[in-house]
Amino acid sequence: MTVRRIMGTEIEYGISVPGQPGANPMVTSSQIVNAYAARPELSKGGRARWDYEEETPLRDARGFTYTGALYDPAENLADEDSGLANVILTNGARLYVDHAHPEYSTPEVTNPREVVLFDKAGEMTMAEAALRAAHTPGIGPINLYKNNTDNKGASYGAHENYLMSRQTPFADIVAHFTPFLVTRQVFAGAGRIGIGQDASEHRFQISQRADFFEVEVGLETTLKRPIINTRDEPHADAERYRRLHVIIGDANLAEHATYLKVGTASIVLAMIESGVFDGTLGIAEPVAELRAVSHDPTLTHKIELRNGKRLTAVELQMSILEQAEAYCGPDADPATREVLDQWAYVLDALARDPMELADMLDWPAKLSLLERYREREGLDWGAAKLQAIDLQYHDVRPEKGLYHRLVARGKMKRLLTDTEIINAMTEPPSDTRAFFRGRCLSRYPSEVVAASWDSVIFDVGADSLVRVPMMEPEKGTKAHVGELFERCAAAKDLLDVITAD
């Protein structure tokens, strides 16, 4: 049993042009992506396009294919043709325009620490993209926010992806992952002033996303958002894997929050795959409880379970942790042990006083700032200044973002150094197929015409293009193909070796 699995995040960033609320976000998002694409290592060859061949976003994990008009994959292809920007980075990540936001999808990684590393690399990529855009003639300043709502009714996502065994019945995921997701916000919430989708009631709540979730299970991601999303698009061998698409989380700035968010999720999924849970933590009204937990920063709200028991969110998490400890045992590998220890530390602190974690997690850090500012200025919770602080906590600019100001003062505990993060902006992870994707782009920029999560397509001057499928996420690693890239000066040489195997 291990925390290790293929996983990653995809974050949509809030985008705004100061003084121009009417600016077209599709245009400004494209300007952001294109500004970053002018980076030297990305502008050597023609820009590689996204290969949509294997994508089936309408397939539902419950076994049917959606036939409604909610989302047309052909539209995605058209998006690209109509000029919505997309760039595949040399670290294996994807930077593109999704809906009306710039989005960063991390490369596939195998452990929670690397999720944090590439998630933060995405944040730094966005900050650099905005800086580059500001220096592009004809483009004004564009600000980017790693948050999930404009507090006026709109929300945008911070999704996580976990590769799972196809053997696990989807009903088990729904039954046992739901109580975990409803309560995970106690450490993974990013904090928000405002209750309700339009924030009409002025109070602080733990999560940015809770008020935007309306059903327990479903395929949608933009309307009637479900706690458990059923999209079944593995980007890998569909006989063996499913990719669980988790859409309920907040975008986190705090490294420890992202780390725990994905680390605990991966452990709980391993427990579900092994059939550990007996269903006694089933929540009577998950959607209502998701909000009730979020609306109570004192963490004293009691959740009613299906069996009539009542537990706080922290108690419910402690119960999951206890089972995780029993399941993982004393022989857990170091990466797993680290998550379990952190999880225990944070839950204990939350049970005493969440403000003990103001130097570690987003919502306590933000609430602490707001409380003190509010007290000093004698403001009520509806004050524009407080809402500005809430928003500016998420500004990706190091000199403006309040999270980043806390970091600069050494007031947030970190897992990573800036040097590691800067390196991850261009260097792929070594132990997944993202290594192959990233290296193809950096070594043979002129020959790679398209790529996707599970393919790289080359034009080496032959009659037709050559498509290399990568249906196994743990192949194409540095150990597996690293030496090939050193040996093969041209893409043609690489393809000769691969096809000869």
């Binding site: 121009q20 404009d150 996502g157 500012y373 000093r376 009520d380």
Partner: protein, 71 residues
């Protein structure tokens, strides 16, 4: 609007007082108390900096942050 604001505020203050009371009771560990105090001081120090970096017209800034819904 104003009534709603103060309602939200008083409710939250009540919650904080409860939380504070619990904290005082639980904070027997001097190390934790010390750390708590240190964090408090540091955050207070940050407030002056917030004023410096906050977008100049908060009301306008907040009002003009309008997003299209995403996923």
């Amino acid at each position: 609007m104003a009534a709603k604001d103060s309602g939200g505020q008083s409710q939250s203050q009540r919650s904080r007082q409860e939380a504070d009371a619990e904290t005082t009771e639980a904070a027997v560990d001097p190390e934790i108390a010390e750390r708590h105090e240190a964090i408090t001081e540091e955050v207070d120090d940050l407030l002056d900096e917030i004023d410096e970096v906050l977008e100049t017209n908060s009301e306008e800034f907040v009002r003009s942050f309008v997003q299209k819904g995403g996923q």
